[in-house]
């Protein structure tokens, strides 16, 4: 046990001290932060540019109706000025010239002249403003003609948005709110974390085994410790490296979130919020629908609370540990069996294939967690760590969970046994290209 600890310590320290570890540990969160933060920052920065738009309004419908929005100002001009600008747009005074034709009411068209390419946001803003003014005017006329002063309110009252809450009836007949959306994200995220972790750190175990074999140090080590101790130290040590990395990422992630929130002063935050609202409006959502936003948030919280949190946490830890153990012991065995990098690809494929398949099936399973694909993928042990976990937020039948866990446990025990056998024969075998038939033979060797 003491020796396993020594090995674990070395495996851990040697990796954590590596430059590549430090670099990836720091760069990955920076990269994700940049991915989130830079577009946000750019969005707020662009808005700060002051632009004055010259408006020549032939229709005379819009005078004083455009006002100012953000950093964009509208300045109405006369025909002579418009003609002058048209022939010479170099004028530093105006960013662009908006020409509203006299017949805009019927053709619904205006022109924006500029020297530079106009940002898409600005073009959209102008389109929206013009449409609004015309729309309001048309409404006013319709109301006048109909002789019904409260028509506006009546029409507003007809706006309808139906939301369907999905309810699951439990065995005791109790109804529980469930949200497919929340469960979908939870399931996808957890499946992906397991996939990523198993893949990344499982192959780290494999490379470490290969390195020891290639360096010819392994025989010295196994003359001091049992091969299974070496393997155990390696697998647990590498897992701790992974957990350290993830822990650092979480800490950095929380810190970055804090910084971002501080950086975004109330005004800029408001602006971001405003532009989000604008874009929602553009997508056709009436302002009235905004009121339901708050309800939606509450509903999401309720849905999260309705997930079977203890089951999901237990399931995550269980599938995470066993999935990692299963794959890392198999990958460790591959590392011991092969002599060079070329052979690795060939041997590794049958092992990683189920894992890749699982991640491909993940979306389909999250969409239809009770289908037969979901059932089989979450029962078969090589895909179950990803697939059953993805189903857990949808509360699958208890017997399926039990069967999946039992099969995975049995398979993992078997894989560790077989992996250890292959490992201890493989690490001492040089210059021989192994086949799967040969590996099967190794299982019969004693000690």
């Amino acid at each position: 046990m003491n020796k396993t600890w020594l090995i674990l310590k070395r495996e851990y320290l040697i990796r954590v001290k590596k430059k590549s570890f430090i670099v990836t540990t720091l760069l990955v969160p920076l990269f994700f932060a940049a991915l989130m933060f830079v577009p946000m920052w750019l969005a707020t920065r662009d808005d700060k540019q002051e632009r004055i738009i010259a408006v020549y309004d032939e229709s005379t419908l819009f005078y004083d109706q455009l006002g100012q929005e953000g950093f964009t100002k509208y300045h109405f001009i006369e025909q002579e000025k418009f003609n002058a600008l048209k022939s010479d747009l170099n004028d530093e005074e105006f960013y662009a010239v908006l020409y509203i034709p006299g017949n805009i009411y019927t053709v619904n068209k205006a022109e924006l002249l500029s020297k530079k390419q106009v940002p898409i946001d600005l073009a959209e803003q102008i389109e929206r403003k013009l449409s609004q003014v015309i729309e309001t005017d048309k409404r006013r006329k319709v109301i006048e003609e109909s002789q019904m002063p409260d028509l506006e309110q009546k029409l507003a009252g007809t706006k309808t948005k139906v939301s369907v809450s999905t309810l699951k009836v439990t065995e005791t007949g109790e109804q529980k709110k469930s949200s497919s959306m929340v469960a979908f994200f939870a399931s996808y995220l957890m499946g992906f974390i397991i996939y990523f972790f198993v893949f990344m750190y499982g192959s780290m175990v494999m490379r470490s085994v290969m390195e020891e074999k290639k360096n010819r140090i392994v025989e010295v080590i196994v003359s001091s410790v049992k091969p299974y101790q070496l393997m155990a130290g390696k697998i647990v040590g590498t897992a701790l490296v992974g957990l350290t990395q993830v822990a650092i990422w979480i800490v950095i992630g929380v810190a970055v979130m804090g910084v971002v929130q501080n950086f975004l002063s109330p005004e800029t935050a408001q602006q971001v919020g405003q532009s989000v609202m604008e874009s929602q409006q553009q997508m056709g959502q009436a302002p009235a629908a905004m009121a339901t936003e708050g309800n939606q948030m509450a509903e999401i919280m309720e849905n999260i609370a309705n997930l079977n949190i203890p089951l999901i946490i237990f399931g995550f830890v269980f599938y995470f540990l066993l999935g990692y153990l299963l794959y890392s012991s198999l990958l460790g065995a591959v590392g011991a069996a092969v002599d060079n990098d070329e052979d690795v690809q060939q041997m590794i494929f049958p092992i990683t294939f189920p894992l890749i398949l699982a991640i491909i099936m993940l979306v389909a399973i999250s969409r239809n967690p009770e289908g037969s694909l979901a059932f089989w993928a979450s029962i078969i042990p090589l895909t179950s760590p990803v697939c059953m976990l993805a189903r857990l937020p949808f509360s699958p039948p208890a017997w399926e969970i039990a069967l999946s866990m039992l099969l995975l446990l049995a398979t993992t025990v078997g894989a560790i046994w077989a992996g250890a056998k292959i490992y201890r024969t493989g690490i001492l075998m040089y210059g021989k290209k192994v086949t799967f038939k040969e590996l099967a033979k190794w299982l019969t060797y004693k000690g």
Binding site: I14, N215, S223, S224, L428, G447
Partner: protein
């Protein structure tokens, strides 16, 4: 007194019988040579003694008790496929390997200081293995083998791959360790080192032990009653005194002295032979030819293979 023994070791890999009923006895404080052609099973036997692999049948005893995994701390092992972590610093690495052998960090440090000083490599402590030449790495490997003061040292082909200077250094160290009370077992192809170092040998061929014992005894058993005699006198007279039990293998004459090589087929003692010859000529020198380990090795393996070929037919 025996230090350790293996008894009736069998090891089978699939359809290959790697070791077949191999028993050896290694006396305490001896240097024991494990000989045999390539693929005979030497490395397998060494791995079994080191508890790296388990035998299918048979036992290994150390000082009378059955060997357990605790005993590996008493063994220092330098395998044939030897190496170090290339990216790890030498001192750190040596400390790690010593601790794996059951030393505390403190003990390991003391012992390593002694050995690094002895091999004059104290300045290498913080170097990475990949910065060292192969010869330098071999010194470090040797130190990691002996650092925990093992009472049994096992070297698999210690002189293959080592340059002559390091090979000689290791030879000296092996003798010194033996004098300090360690028991040493090594496998080799190099019969010269066997003559120089070994007290006892065992010869393994085609998975079986075909010969073992103290080196002198083994040689004695393989001598073929050949004598080399130089004399002053008449060759014909010598021929007359030697009866039909002798055959003359070689005969040279020169101005100063004559030389013959003879072999006798019965058990005539050396003194009696000299007495007979004294009547015929003036004897200058008389030497019984003792076979070299090389001769013994070749003869034993060839005999065994020939016998086996007959048996299997």
């Amino acid at each position: 007194m025996e230090f350790f023994t293996t008894q009736g070791i069998h090891k089978v890999y699939g359809s290959t019988h790697a070791l077949n009923d191999v028993s050896i006895t290694v006396p305490k404080g001896s240097i024991f040579g494990l000989l045999g052609p390539n693929g005979a099973g030497k490395t397998t036997l060494i791995r079994i003694i080191n508890q790296i692999t388990a035998p299918d049948q048979g036992e290994v005893f150390l000082e009378g008790h059955r060997m357990t995994s605790e005993d590996v701390s008493k063994i220092g092992y330098l395998p044939e496929e030897r190496g170090l972590y290339t990216k790890m610093k030498i001192g750190e690495q040596a400390l790690y390997l010593a601790q794996l052998k059951g030393m505390t960090r403190h003990q390991a440090m003391d012992s390593l200081k002694y050995w690094f000083k002895k091999f004059d490599i104290t300045t290498w402590w913080d170097k990475k293995v990949e910065e060292l030449s192969k010869g330098m790495q071999q010194k470090v490997q040797f130190i990691t083998t002996v650092v925990h003061n093992p009472r049994l040292l096992i070297f698999d082909e210690p002189f293959s791959g080592f340059d002559p200077i390091n090979a000689n250094l290791i030879k000296q160290e092996i003798l010194e360790l033996r004098d300090k009370g360690a028991t040493i077992l090594f496998s080799t192809h190099n019969m010269g080192t066997v003559e120089d170092l070994c007290d006892h040998i065992a010869l393994i061929n085609k998975s079986r032990k075909i010969l073992d014992g103290p080196v002198q005894e083994v040689k004695e058993n393989y001598k073929s009653n050949i004598f080399e005699i130089s004399y002053k006198g008449d060759f014909n007279q010598i021929q007359q005194v030697l009866d039909q039990n002798f055959s003359i293998l070689e005969h040279k004459e020169s101005l100063r002295e004559n030389f013959i090589r003879i072999q006798h087929t019965d058990g005539t003692g050396n003194n009696e032979l000299i007495r007979v010859l004294l009547g015929a000529a003036e004897i200058r020198s008389f030497r019984e030819v003792i076979p070299s380990m090389n001769d013994v090795f070749i003869k034993a393996v060839e005999n065994y293979n020939a016998q086996n070929a007959v048996n299997t037919k």
